[in-house]
Symmetry: C3
Subunit: 326 residues, 3 copies
Amino acid sequence: MERPDFLNHSAEHLNGNLKGKDILSVWQFDAQTLDHIFSWSLEMAEIAKKGYKADFLSQKILANLFYEPSTRTSSSFTAAMERLGGSVISINEVKYSSVTKGEDLEDTVRTLEQYANVIVLRHPEMGSAAIAAEAVSIPLINAGDGVGEHPTQALLDYVTIRKEQGMLDGLAVTMLGDMKHGRTVHSLARLLSLYQVRLNYVSPEILRMPSTIIQELEAKGVQQSEHESLSEVLSDTDVLYVTRVQKERFEDTAVYESVKGLYVVTPETLRAGKESLTIMHPLPRVGEISKSVDSYTKNAAYFRQMENGLYVRMTLLAGVLGKLPA
Amino acid sequence: MERPDFLNHSAEHLNGNLKGKDILSVWQFDAQTLDHIFSWSLEMAEIAKKGYKADFLSQKILANLFYEPSTRTSSSFTAAMERLGGSVISINEVKYSSVTKGEDLEDTVRTLEQYANVIVLRHPEMGSAAIAAEAVSIPLINAGDGVGEHPTQALLDYVTIRKEQGMLDGLAVTMLGDMKHGRTVHSLARLLSLYQVRLNYVSPEILRMPSTIIQELEAKGVQQSEHESLSEVLSDTDVLYVTRVQKERFEDTAVYESVKGLYVVTPETLRAGKESLTIMHPLPRVGEISKSVDSYTKNAAYFRQMENGLYVRMTLLAGVLGKLPA
Amino acid sequence: MERPDFLNHSAEHLNGNLKGKDILSVWQFDAQTLDHIFSWSLEMAEIAKKGYKADFLSQKILANLFYEPSTRTSSSFTAAMERLGGSVISINEVKYSSVTKGEDLEDTVRTLEQYANVIVLRHPEMGSAAIAAEAVSIPLINAGDGVGEHPTQALLDYVTIRKEQGMLDGLAVTMLGDMKHGRTVHSLARLLSLYQVRLNYVSPEILRMPSTIIQELEAKGVQQSEHESLSEVLSDTDVLYVTRVQKERFEDTAVYESVKGLYVVTPETLRAGKESLTIMHPLPRVGEISKSVDSYTKNAAYFRQMENGLYVRMTLLAGVLGKLPA
């Protein structure tokens, strides 16, 4: 993949070697690097489950710098570091920090660089992760920069699809809900463009996938199609990736009320799908997947998806800190 | 003890074995299990004091999930986990978490289950701990669920009484202050009903012990009596358990002003008590026990009570994680 | 140095031995103790950089109690403890804690004493650290008590000057900006009075160094001079210590606008200085030192200053916990 303009030179192609690198964008990954990450995630699952003393990262410190709240992502990185014997400095309340005294992001990360070996950054502005990475010489991992990227989410989605379905080539992946605002579906679609997948986007008219992304993926030869109703593609779908349709996205609440039912997944919905259909969701969910789905099918994979997030983040932390073989 | 209706089947009787169990309610405890906890708390005190490398819980992670602030309880569980070599994910600011995005408690704990080995939950609603425990397969410890239960507080109170007085049978325990709202005194009274104790409740008329609790304990044959003045029972009291009388509980502040002095303990108050009288308080105190009491008698046990909380929580964490002999 | 009135007897002279002591004030330090701290800070830098398993403080717990937000100081103490194998209980949001229930500082620290081996306290009121230290028997380190003291900042400033310049005797140290409100410059000036330094204070008229401090240092024979413009002393300065001039300190914003440019350091400013001039700042900066200075001179020492803070705090924690040779 080619590097887009807003990324600086910290966002290097990884070519299978994470050591000392920043993880800023899905654009840095190729199929070989993804293979490595998949294999290592399986190893990390063993480490976490067997619970033997892992000290890969003993004496290493992670600075977990969250300018926006995200319990889920922040906890996942904390657990990943702790599972490998490392320590964590959590800065979850940036509004209370020196930032309120007017300090800029670059000075903040340069200060944390004095204390820590790796930085994880969540920030509301697109491009902020690249700016921060440029300011420091230790590795920085982007945990979401506004409408920009959320590469670790895309990686855990990739690992989950591969674990659940065994391979990626040949799959039909249907993304359901808000295609317009979700950095999650944007990052995932880009990552999947490395494989022979067909992508279906099912959304209300006003929440369609941005044409820039559709054109990007078209240029790579990815088969894509857009729909307003899941029933048009469900029977031929292998992976159903559900996201939330937020009421506040609609100017006219009558329109919202008229469409919302189309983007809720229930056991009833699933009866028309393949028995092997994998159901995913980045969580938190707020009704888009009814709770009865959880026990309806063993292919409801969204909590395993969270679990895979732990293993992917263990892999990335160990990798950028130079503790994995290249 | 019998399980009340609001508890689900996660709240099993422990029968001396904590492994894999949830700790939701004092109703789960019998005298044999309490004996185990007492003995292990003494061991844990040795471990914490000698400071040799305890790695009972190395590679184990506690998710400390607090929907309400409680520095004291949260710090105590954190220290307990760390003293045993384990790690902690702290989620102390739930209002900033995905919960604000509308996620429900069950999904939140199911997510944390992917990262952690045990969950400690403080939540403002009665019954929430039982609901959360049902949603996950890892052990969950109730650190207070609204007006419901606070079993670890009752356990540390029990350990403290036994350490200070040597035994429980035969003791007269006087509870002073707000008998109506305090889950602490409710839980403790229930736990003490396993022993041959006499219970005196001293409170303003409007803050009397709920009759449901009095009837429950009566059915078990516990001797109980109610009073408005401490002087009626002090000379025959072995343990004085003080709680706060909050001004906001009174509709008529004149009534509050007229009674508040009766529920403040000073060295003067104590002169009429036994020399061996143990003085306890769940803390924080706000004037109910004057500071001059701290040095007035070596039997002012409220800071030792906090200390015992550490040992009890070490015991519970090691126990539910299967690291104590049955 | 002599102990001022507001300090209690916890603020003992250290005489080279930190074991079991509280660190409350720069008044506790003599040149011999500072020598020890300097040497140990160099050792700690090796430990942190080589990253070999340091377990000086394994099984020790730090309670990091911050009544005011300070990401920088709090992170620094956390990292220091973790680098030495210890654990941390962070209490960064005191407004959410039992303090809101009205508990006083003494009860809070006496509670934390039950869980932890050492307390670090940041509090908005002068003298609070001394009060808290008196209440507990474990060591307490003052991380800033209002307009009182911030001794660990002064120590890291001292270590930085010595590392950058090789010695202290004979140096001209110029402090620039707000001399009136900054506890940082007050503490540092007092600490430097142990050496043969010349001190220049450059500030707007309304932000001059308090005369009490000038008289104190005069009594010790320190050469001091006051200026309104940096150009008067820059060419003869070895260390330039920059602090922020806050707009809100000025009643008349026209006065602020007329002077602010005088207290901003740029490469232009520095051309008139020595080549060996060390530039320091306690951070965060908000424009007082332009970013172009960072790369203009290798003597821009403010990020190294932060780094030294880590090593000084490792030294203090190991020292008060009795893990350094006397």
